[in-house]
Subunit: 166 residues, 2 copies
Amino acid sequence: MKLTSRGRYAVTAMLDLAFHSKNGPVSLSAISERQNISLSYLEQLFAKLRRTKLVASVRGPGGGYTLNKEPQLLSVGEIIEAVNENIDATKCHGKSDCQGGERCLTHSLWQNLSDRISDFLNQISLQELMQKRDVKEVVGRQSCFKTASKDGSIDVLQMLVTKENL
Amino acid sequence: MKLTSRGRYAVTAMLDLAFHSKNGPVSLSAISERQNISLSYLEQLFAKLRRTKLVASVRGPGGGYTLNKEPQLLSVGEIIEAVNENIDATKCHGKSDCQGGERCLTHSLWQNLSDRISDFLNQISLQELMQKRDVKEVVGRQSCFKTASKDGSIDVLQMLVTKENL
DNA sequence: TCAATACCCGACTATTTTAGTGGGTTAAAT
DNA sequence: ATTTAACCCACTAAAATAGTCGGGTATTGA
C-alpha cells in the first residue's frame, strides 16, 4: 500500500464526486475547478478509476462521471489502490529470491504491517468520511478564506507535498 | 503521512537493529549485508533517525547504532515520519490559502483520514511487530530460499517498488 | 445537421523524490 | 599507528509524480 499525493488527489476527487452527484453526472472540469487539480491529470486518474469500475462515465454534453458504488461500499483503500497501478510481480509472498531466513523474516514482518495498513484503509468508506461533519467546525477554525499566498501548498499532516497549487 | 519504500527501508532496518542489539551496537554495514540495503543509503536514513533521537550512535571500532527507546515505546509511525522529513509549512491546518468552503471541506475530510492513518501507525510498536511469530509459519510457507531470479524485487502487498534488489 | 460538450487516449515534459556513489573527516579501540 | 566505523558532504541516475498537448470519439441540444 503506497500512500502519496496521487492517492490524495484521487480520494479528494472522489469525495467531490460523491458530494455533487445528486443531480446527474459530474464533469471533470467541474472537479478540476473546485478542487484545483489539473484536468488532464484528473483524466488519467479517472481512466484508472473507470477501469477498476469505481466510477462510471457518461459522454457528451451534460455528461461526466458518477460513482459506481454506494459511498458506504466504496473504501478509501480501493480508491488509492486503483490509481496506484501496482503490477506486483515477482514479490516475496508466493515465492522469490530472498536468501536465508534472516532477511525473509524482516520481509515477513513488514508485510504483516503492510497488510494491516491495507485492512485499515479498506475498512474506511467514502460515506464514513463524508459524514465527518465535525469537519464544519474545523472549517470554522481555519482561516481558510482568501489568504491568497500564491504557491501556498495545502497539505495533510505530514504528507509531504511541495509546491502544490491546491 | 507518506508511505513509500523509503519508510519500509527504515522500518526494516530498525527491525534488524532491534533483533541484533542484544550484544552491543549494530553497525550499518551489518544491517546493509543482512537486509541488502546500500550502506550509504542507510547512512542517510540513520542520520535522520539519530536527529529525531530514535537511535543512538557509538563511533569507532565495535561501534554502531542502538535503539534509543524500548521497542514497545517505538512506533512504526514515528520511524516513517522521521525519515520522511516533512517540513510542512504553509499548510491548510492552522491557516492557509484555500478559498471558499467547498475546497476547504474536502481538504478537511482528507486531513481527517490522514490523521486516522497517523494514529493507526503510531499505535503499532516495533515490539508488537517483532512478536508476530506467526511469521515463522509464513517463512515456512514461502519458498524463500535460493530462488535466485536476479533482479527479483521483493515487495509488500501493493506497495509498488520496481527493481529493488531486496 | 452541427457545434458544443466532455470523455478518451497516448505521447511527451518538467520537477521531485528515491536510491545509490564517492570521497573525505572524525572518533575510538586494538 | 592503524583500523574500524560513524559522520558528512556533494553529486548522480533512475524513477515516479504532476502536468501538458493534441488529437480523437461519442452524445446531445439548438
